[in-house]
């Protein structure tokens, strides 16, 4: 630049440059967002697409129909699948954070001999791949007559609610000032009261994080339930989609896409509602982990 600029001009060009950079940033992010959402937009679009449009090779519908959803819900057991899944999800969303925080309280706040060794044992289970224990567990649960019931997918979560969750709670509890508990002890609170009324309410961010984790994992899991559900009347939603829609195949594309949409609506809703807190929680979990 040969000619010297007046301060005003320099200011304006700097502002213009910032605008250009911002526009580039928005463009870049928008392109990324479109790429990332494209498959799911297609899924939603095609769930409303009549078969004629699909056969003509369209990506998005120009006609609109609810046939996919009608056929999906016309399947004889669909409501059962949904209720089965809801039962498992609700149970785990309540049980996992409670069980994990209860045990973590012992590892974070109570002093007893053997505590560190026990905690190390709990963490060591993270190393065991799920498939190693899957078959003996299947044999155990089937000898108890628990196949085709939600019990194998819920009852084990009462026992600790997952090693990684205990770890997260323990880390989080270490960050809570101990003085609060001391004060309540002086006021005569016993150990259960201290856990339930003092520590637990302070663990809200991590409680939410673990509860949402419990929700998404038990809502979407197909691998574990596949071992336990053999009776087509008793499937969970994920197993039903896997076995009925994917393996047996459905006649129309819109039915498959409607099944996918139905499966995704609830997690997406939970995510949108809790978005800000959740991403913070994931970051907390990530840093602590």
């Amino acid at each position: 630049m040969t000619r010297s600029l007046s301060p005003q001009e320099r200011n304006r060009s700097a502002r213009r440059q910032r605008h250009v950079i911002e526009a580039l940033q928005y463009t870049c992010l928008t392109v990324l967002a479109i790429i990332f959402l494209f498959p799911f937009l297609l899924m939603v679009g095609q769930s409303f697409m009549p078969e004629i449009d699909f056969q003509r090779g369209l990506l998005f519908p120009i006609h609109f129909t609810l046939r996919g959803y009608e056929q999906l819900f016309a399947q004889p057991n669909y409501l059962n699948y949904f209720l089965n899944t809801v039962f498992i999800v609700v149970f785990n969303v309540v049980a996992m954070p409670l069980a994990a925080s209860f045990c973590a309280y012992s590892f974070a706040r109570l002093k007893w001999k053997g505590r560190e060794l026990c905690f190390a044992m709990v963490l060591s289970t993270l190393m065991i791949p799920g498939v190693v224990t899957q078959i003996p567990l299947y044999l155990l649960f089937s000898s108890l007559g628990w196949t085709n019931t939600p019990l194998p997918l819920t009852i084990p979560n009462l026992f600790g609610g997952g090693a990684i969750n205990i770890f997260l709670f323990r880390q989080f509890m270490h960050g809570i000032p101990y003085e609060l508990e001391e004060a309540s002890t002086i006021d005569g609170a016993n150990v259960f009261q201290r856990y339930f009324f003092i520590t637990l309410p302070l663990c809200k961010p991590i409680l939410l994080f673990v509860a949402v984790g419990a929700f998404t994992s038990s809502w979407g899991d197909y691998f574990q339930p596949m071992f336990y559900y053999t009776d087509p009347e008793k499937y969970t939603l994920a197993v039903a989609i896997y076995k009925v829609v994917m393996l047996d195949g459905v006649s129309e594309n819109s039915v498959a896409m409607a099944a996918g949409v139905f499966m995704s609506v609830l997690p997406a809703l939970v995510f949108f509602l809790l978005q800000r807190k959740l991403i913070d929680g994931i970051m907390v979990g990530a840093v602590k982990g």
């Binding site: 870049c28 992010l29 990324l32 967002a33 990332f36 959402l37 498959p39 799911f40 899924m43 699909f54 056969q55 090779g57 990506l59 209860f102 045990c103 012992s106 007893w112 001999k113 505590r115 026990c118 044992m121 709990v122 289970t125 791949p129 498939v131 190693v132 224990t133 899957q134 078959i135 003996p136 299947y138 044999l139 155990l140 084990p156 026992f159 600790g160 609610g161 090693a163 002086i186 005569g188 016993n190 259960f192 998404t216 979407g220 197909y222 691998f223 596949m226 994920a238 989609i241 994917m246 393996l247 896409m257 099944a259 996918g260 978005q275 991403i279 970051m283 990530a286 840093v287 982990g289």
Partner: protein, 325 residues
Amino acid sequence: MQENVNVSTGAERAAPPQPPAQPTLTPAAKKRRAVKWLTGFLFALPVLLGIVIFNFYPAIQALVSSFMHDDKFEWFYNYETMFSFDPDTFKVFGNTVFYALVSVPFGLVLGYFLALAANFKIKGISVYRMLLYLPVIIPGVASGLVFTYMFGSLAHNGAFNHILNAMGLGEWSFFEAENSSMATLIFMGVWSAGGSMIIWLSAFKNIPSVLYEAAKLDGANALQCLTHITIPMSTPLIFYNLVTGFIAALQCTTPLVVVGGRFDHMGGGAGDSLYFISVKILNEFNYGLYEYASALAFVLFAVVGLFTLVLFKTSRWVYYGEDKE
């Protein structure tokens, strides 16, 4: 029991930590100590029972049954079968290890670039962050449905092939051919890069901005900031990501939902090109070969252990701050 706890902990919390060696204990103090221990133990009891019943016992049972054949001990029968007779073994292990070695670093690098974009200081960035993360929370079966369709052939109205065709790039085979299935599966990882994006973002958040300001004063450019500040300061998270990423990738079962039963083996893909260990274990289980499946599971366990061990042994590049040199 609850009353005891009430009395004892109240007294013991008020006292400062006592010196460890106490020559004589009054019966009351002994009782207090026992109750204190019992309280801690009982709080941990659920998870201790849980790991014994649902982790250790089944793992040991799986180990024992991996040495059995038709309910009789036949030491290495299953392992011998696996490595000398089963034609799938090397393919299955090769596929799994290859997938882990490629997809995990790929996801990390992609997540990094995504995090750079999601870290722009502009209005509405949290909405973009959310949109980029959204594919991660879509359940596996649902995204399996979509991607099965999207990677379909032109005859099946596959979306990618439509787009490629419109660009004059012809029709691609994706999951339908042996030589393109693995690449397609790894490419699918693009849509789950939001998971590692979040971890990178939290890493960025934890790096003191002083470091960047100092570097800028010294005349460092963006690339130097990346290689000398961002990456070294993020090594603990990179390490964490590598360990959990490899453990998860080695147990990957995604082919079950993207290729399903369309080829020779369920979840095996064209020419078994996507046949992974966990999927094979499931198939052997479905044939009723529990003992053989257990042996396979233990070899997978060994592979996972080996990867973790190598990562920890070579973790000297991880920087935990000055104090832990």
